[in-house]
Amino acid sequence: MNTTRFERSSATRDSTIVKTLVLVLSLSFFGIFLLMPLFSVFTEALYKGWVYYFKAIAEPDTWSAIKLTLLAAGVAVPLNLIFGVAASWAIAKFDFKGKHLLITLIDIPFSVSPVIAGLIFVLVFGAQGWFGSWLSDHDIRIIFAVPGIILATIFVTFPFVARELIPLMEAQGREEEEAATVLGASGWQTFWYVTLPNIKWGLLYGVILCNARAMGEFGAVSVVSGHIRGYTNTIPLQVEILYNEYNYVAAFAVASLLALLALLTLAAKTYVEWHLKSETNAAPAIEGPL
């Protein structure tokens, strides 16, 4: 819309030279730095053909990595979804002191290096950590075991749903819920029949981003995993192991699964953004890292 308007008016039209220069520079930068890595994943994965590709993916270690990744995301995403809804309800529907501080605190996991995200759980649950001796007395393993991987995944994906819902619910205001309450709806009824339909696309948006990061997290999970084959390896860790064993084609074959997931995520995200824009006329919040 804007595009054609700016290009139509002679006062705001960029000269052909400028336009060509901007397009060539920005699109070649885009092609070299973004597209080529994506293409190379699939080319390298299929380097030895489809048969080899499927054989690499059908390895038992790869399957257990896929199962662990699904488990970690399957726990982390619903927990952070419940948190996101609770946090945005409290922040958007009520006034209280320290609201800005709370919003900043919720954002912390995005600004912490993934390596530190793993480290903190080692300090709490590791052999030398706070609960280390208690846990080993009771024969419970968290670090270098599945619970540690789940905890690290929850941490790095913590803000996704909340930071989508908070600005959305704040922008929508409180009038509709107030009307429902005045008409006699209970809290749950108001939430289910009024709030939820209003926020469903924003909620889905947050869940899509949360899930992509949960399945793709590498640094934080790497610190707490211990890299036990077939037991504590997620898909990204399996990629690293295969790569470090110089098994490049297999590494890229497994990586291509994650690249496909990334493309699916982008497609779903674009579709939801389109709905968000047409329904609420509100752009999603400035995005955070995945």
Binding site: N2, T3, V22, F30, F83, L123, G187, A212, Y243, L266
Partner: protein
């Protein structure tokens, strides 16, 4: 009761806020406080030794230097890309727009091995650079390439919405007063975009400083040369030097929190400058 009761007729304030604070504390605040507590177990001279060892100092220079450089490069090309996406029509525009977020969606380990393959001496890009005597993979420049990849969407996605909201009348007015396109851009458009550009740069920089997965495969990880700070933390952990790892982590954590505050301030400035609600 609380002041909230006066302002709202809804139920569930205590439940939702209580749950939010408890969950936030268990997952984020209490584990993070472990870094602070573990660091205080070191004496101050020992702490200083750990965080200023030559190998660690070299890693700060690399991590911060390359993050700065990548942020600047992304600020320039991110602005160009945002401009192309908002102001021009071209074939495949919607696809480019959707794929700008690829670095957010692609797992860092996948990025890492793909970049290492591209820039190694047999790779698609590396094979052309090798005869020119340019080495990217397994040098500090590999770190730069990885940080450019992960930082680009931050700049595009903060500048793009602001650019979309600029009214055409503003630039028409400048043109009718005799300004050239370049003058209009420099004196009218750029000042409006600047806070967003700076925010995008800061977001990209903050992410780049702590980045791990996409860097380690292409960096070569040579101590004093191409070893990033997060990798030093991992190395120390693997040697069971928990206190040393935590000391370095506390330095990085402090810088991250300062950056987070700076970014919040920048976003408030953007909002004020453009009349947007955050």
């Amino acid at each position: 009761m609380s002041s909230a009761k006066k302002n709202s007729i809804f139920p569930g304030f205590g439940l939702s806020l209580g749950y939010t604070i408890v969950y936030l504390s268990i997952i984020v605040l209490i584990p993070l406080s472990a870094v602070v507590l573990k660091t205080t177990s070191l004496t101050f001279p020992a702490f200083l030794d750990a965080v200023t060892a030559p190998r660690v100092m070299a890693s700060y220079r690399l991590s911060f230097g390359m993050a700065l450089l990548a942020g600047l490069i992304n600020a320039i090309f991110g602005l160009l890309l945002a401009w192309a996406l908002v102001r021009y029509t071209f074939i495949g525009k919607n696809l480019v727009d959707a794929l700008v977020d690829l670095p957010f969606a692609l797992p860092t380990a996948v990025t890492g091995i793909a970049l290492a393959a591209l820039y190694s001496k047999n790779g698609w890009i590396g094979q052309y650079l090798e005869p020119l005597g340019i080495k990217i993979a397994f040098t500090p420049w590999g770190v730069l390439v990885a940080l450019i990849f992960i930082g680009l969407p931050f700049v595009v996605r903060t500048v793009q919405p602001i650019l979309e909201e600029i009214e055409i009348e503003l630039e028409e007015a400048a043109a009718s007063l005799g300004a050239s396109r370049w003058q209009t851009f420099k004196k009218v458009v750029l000042p409006i975009l600047f806070p967003a550009l700076l925010t995008g740069f800061a977001l990209a920089f903050a992410r780049a400083v702590g980045e791990y997965g996409s860097v380690i495969f292409i960096a070569g990880n040579i101590p004093m040369v191409s070893e990033i700070t997060p990798l030093i933390i991992i190395t120390k952990l693997e040697q069971y030097d928990y206190a040393g790892a935590t000391a370095i982590a506390s330095v990085m954590l402090l810088i991250s929190l300062l950056l987070l505050l700076a970014i919040n301030g920048l976003q408030a400035w953007t909002a004020q400058k453009t009349g947007r609600v955050r």
